[in-house]
Symmetry: C2
Subunit: 313 residues, 2 copies
């Protein structure tokens, strides 16, 4: 069986760990969001790809859900001592090594997809991890800064530095229109038996992946089941509500289901608290969505996969 | 008083610390060797400049004489886990931050001299530290590898990886012929009251600095006193003998004094064990040369400075 999953960071990575457990024989291809990528200190940082890689490879800081376990911060402290910022992005020493390897390979002419494959040769995540594109796509957010006025900032500055506390007036994936899917992405979607959307951010993770021309159509041609990132009107984690508000979508399982819509989704898994949710043209089922432990996560992934196989024609 | 010193790494840095103590009111300009510089993991590493900066700035690992105090090696271990080398060059986490800042500034278009000034803004070494050139000069060593035959390798590979155990057939500063002295170098030499050569390697440190067109003549026009890096036929530290052999010079205080010669040197400080050394046209004095503690080092620097002032016409 061939499964393709689109994934953002923490929620997507945890779901994928459950999926790998639920379908150990399946060939799983993960199309990772790269819109959150950012250059810091001259190094290329790919937060979502790394969160998937570290989580599935056993190197993640389990508690915080991102970054490396057993991490230290000597490099970051030294950079601060030099007065070199930004200080708001928490890069640890072990993590720095990943970005150093990636940056060196990119500078040598390797594409991000090749770099990701090389990094995964160490981590052996048990899935094939592909960036959505080898081209540069950066999610930018328009905010009105009390001091600097209306301006576009990098998603990470809004998300991490400002903790999404300033309203996003708009969110856009700069460069997406001209981006091409990375090698292997369209072929994997073409060959997939089913496609799954983990409970990743529907705007800045799944939405950004779908913004790369060609990916939305290839996804839509398949049997797709999504897992709602919203339970009872609030995001399970993160600040997806701030992103949904920016694009004029209510923070509810129903509204996110409708955002994807029947053009994309065949099935939609919502929480038991949202059992009454209906989405026109989409088969909605309610299940426990909290990925509170490996067993619950595996159960959730199995439910999504089973629904997809049931709906597959 | 204005003093210019040419400096390599450990020996030069320690001597400079003594000189700063011996002449606290003097304006000291250090022209640092950059022939040892190397790009590792996509980062630009300047071992000699950093050793001077860390030593005078209070950040050096006193025991080993290079690298940062309290150093950790998380990044290096992770790079090794990725299978990314070389592993023979010991970069610590704190040290990595320096190279990250430098590389980012170089990529932004700053010259090495401006980068060095920016790094020194943190370390406040109490001297003006200038790279000998902003151009790329790399010391290469020709060796006969038992497996790969005769070939040129980077100085660091010969010095650090091979510990100079393979004879150097020749040593050359690649790029030196076309290099220009960094901004401030010739002006500092022009304005200097005296010029000092610390007990740095006469071939790959002082010799490389002198190989940048314009520097040798500007040095020679001044009153110059050198401190012998050789005591009783052996280098005080390091493997200067391997370098001297490569250029056909005996490992002795007399031979190194003659290598610089009266065209460059006015005075030459040798160890008490070498009190009988004579160099035609050069005033030779013997003194305790071992920089065994701060007081002995200051005393040595004062002796070099006093001799220079005495010989100054």
């Amino acid at each position: 069986m061939k499964i393709v999953a689109l994934a953002g960071g923490i929620g997507g990575a945890r779901f994928l760990r459950g999926l790998r457990a639920a379908a150990p024989e399946a060939e799983i291809t993960v199309i990772g969001n790269t819109g959150d990528d950012i250059s810091l200190f001259g190094l290329r940082v790919c937060p979502d790809l790394d969160t998937v890689m570290y989580t599935l490879g056993g190197g993640i800081d389990e508690e915080q859900g991102w970054g490396r376990s057993g991490e230290t911060f000597a490099v970051k402290d030294e950079l601060a001592a030099y007065g070199v910022g930004p200080s708001w992005f928490g890069l640890g020493d072990r993590d720095f090594a990943t970005h150093i390897v990636r940056t060196q390979m990119l500078a040598a002419g390797y594409k991000l997809s090749a770099v990701t494959e090389a990094l995964c040769a160490r981590w052996r995540p048990g899935v094939r991890l592909l960036p959505m594109t080898d081209d540069q796509v950066e999610t930018h957010v328009v905010v009105t800064d009390p001091e600097k006025g209306r301006r576009a900032i990098h998603f990470q500055e809004w998300w991490v530095r400002l903790r999404a506390s300033v309203p996003a007036e708009s969110i856009g994936a700069v460069g997406a229109d001209d981006a091409k899917p990375a090698p292997g992405v369209l072929a994997a979607l073409d060959e997939a038996d089913v496609v799954l959307f983990p409970p990743s951010n529907p705007v800045v993770s799944i939405g950004t992946i779908l913004a790369v021309p060609g990916i939305r159509d290839a996804v839509a041609a398949n049997t797709v089941v999504g897992v709602s990132p919203i339970i009872g009107g609030a995001p399970v984690r993160g600040m997806a509500d701030a992103c949904l508000t920016a694009i004029g979508v209510e923070t509810s399982a129903a509204a996110v289901g409708a955002l994807y819509g029947p053009g994309l989704l065949d099935g939609w898994l919502v929480a038991e608290a949202d059992a009454d949710v209906r989405v026109d043209g989409v088969e909605v089922r309610s299940r426990p969505l909290l990925m509170s432990d490996p067993e619950a996560t595996e159960e959730l992934a199995r439910a999504a996969l089973d629904l997809a196989l049931e709906l597959k024609r």
